[in-house]
């Protein structure tokens, strides 16, 4: 029964990883930026939720969606302030990545300076729980599962059925051709960043509500999400989601035998194993194709 409980816990944290991973993959596929500062955008959502819910005193039903929107706006702002000037200069992927590291470091240090380095808890008391047999579900487990079940199909429909979704996929496939066909790339980049960041925002409000907010929370989630993207197969969004769930479950199940301090090693051991033996990921067919 312990194993089943660990499995359920892993599913819930896996949903957070999956949301973050799909957000990163969407941005990466669409803009070819290795947007490591996605982790800082994630954390921003947590602090936005804190500011809206506690000092401003908004009810949760308003604060939660508002925090997701704020996260989306912050991601779009980052594109405008950091990446757009670099695109204008014609900076290559390495330069973009270095600037992204800079943005991550800067934002994370700023959170520490403004909010302190301690964890800020957003709620008092325990969560409502449901006992099914010997397994305990919390409200967060249920919400995480529901959000993932709703968001991923909706995203897939958006990308395949709507005009904007098709434009994003066109841009990911072949930016030059997309521009020739009349797609406004700069405007679309903002949409891509907002959308990808909103997915991270959905992930962070769930985890912030559950475990509180701290400056480097996005960092660890971000890197598990990156591994999820590779494990699932770069360029294939459902793969990134599956990778997120897989890593969440693996990490949780590893607690059965190993102490928590080895969790990073488990995740990155999995990464190294995949990179060596199956770099195209579980679902990938080719190493270099990028499709949304």
């Amino acid at each position: 029964m312990l194993l089943l409980q660990l499995f359920i816990n892993g599913l819930a944290s896996g949903a957070i990883y999956a949301l973050t991973a799909v957000g990163f993959a969407l941005i990466y596929n669409g803009t070819r930026i290795f947007h490591i500062a996605h982790g800082a955008v994630f954390t921003f959502g947590g602090y936005a939720l804190y500011l809206l819910a506690l000092p401003l005193g908004l009810p949760w039903i308003v604060a939660l969606p508002a925090a997701v929107i704020a996260t989306a706006a912050f991601g779009a702002l980052m594109d405008t302030l950091v990446y757009r000037p670099l695109r204008k200069r014609g900076t290559g992927p390495a330069g973009m990545f270095i600037a992204s590291i800079g943005a991550l470091t800067f934002a994370q240090a700023t959170y520490s300076l403004v909010f302190g380095t301690d964890t800020i808890n957003l709620r008092k008391g325990g969560l409502p729980t449901f006992d099914i047999g010997e397994v305990t579900l919390t409200a967060v487990h249920v919400i995480a599962a529901m959000v993932a079940l709703i968001v991923f199909p909706v995203l897939q429909l958006f990308l395949t059925r709507t005009r904007w979704g098709r434009a994003i996929r066109a841009l990911a496939d072949n930016p030059r051709l997309a521009v020739v066909r009349g797609i406004d790339a700069e405007r679309l980049y903002i949409v891509i960043f907002a959308l990808g960041s909103a997915l991270a925002g959905l992930g962070v409000v769930i985890i912030a509500f559950d475990l509180g907010v701290r400056p480097e929370m996005g960092f660890s989630v971000m890197f598990v999400a990156l591994v999820a993207v590779i494990v699932g197969g770069v360029g294939y969004l459902p793969g990134a989601a599956a990778g997120g769930f897989l890593l969440g479950i693996t990490q949780s199940l590893s607690l059965w035998q190993l102490s928590g301090r080895w969790q990073d090693v488990v995740v990155f051991g999995a990464l190294l194993a995949f990179l060596v033996f199956r770099p195209q990921g579980i679902f990938g067919h080719m190493l270099v194709t990028r499709r949304v």
Partner: protein, 288 residues
Amino acid sequence: MDYTLHLIVLVLIYASLVVSLDLLMGHTGILSFAHAAFYGIGAYATASLTVYGGWDWFSAMMAAVVITAAIAALVGIPTLRLGGDYFILAMFGFQLIVITLILNLEPITNGPFGIRNVPRPSIGSFQVQSGLGMALFVAAVTGIIFWAHWRFARSPMRAMLHAIRDDETVAMSLGIDVVRTKILVFAIGAGFAALSGALMAFYFRYVTANSFVLSTIILLWAMLFVGGSCSIAGAIVGPAILILFPELFRFVGGEGLDIPNIQEALYGLLLILVMIFRPQGLVGRRAA
């Protein structure tokens, strides 16, 4: 005076480390996220061999270089075949694994407590003791590293590495064994990083995992790109600016301020601004 000397030694140790990072990133285009890990392996190997193994300083330092280069080659063989973004992630994973291992392999590393009382180097019967003596020792080794880099920058090897950095396909068509060369350069760069790690262990006489974490690599990247990659002058200007600039906070009444986080914010901001406004760095010529 002592404090000035300490700052100079810090600049020299970081400058020696930026040189090896530049060999990987600036010249060969290997975005190594794990340089702090190799620096740490070098420092820990030196400290562990001298303190627990009873080795003399020189053998320990040389063994540290060889061990680190061998580890780098082993890690590089599977990962350097991968595309750039995969390699970044693999190195990030390696960095995390190294830190976890340092913290948990107590018999070799003394876990979270670090290794104390690393002996000072001695030449013949003369033991380097004073601050000035250590500064001269560090300056001498850093000088050797810079000399090696300067020799490299005038060799045909440089053109070969630049070809790999600029276009791997073209480099292959010119008959360069890209993967093998990258593995070789990666091992050499890691070996030099280990040498810097040994310097650090001898100078502080104490090693701890905190010196080799991710913020170290971000500091190193900031140093490299603020100074300018592919530039010998840049390798000393970058560390000098990033070490000395935060010292200004001491003079404007830094008490009560959260200095480490202000520094981190500064490093991050500098990386963004340099990339946007001066991608070739302050004294470099080549845009990153």
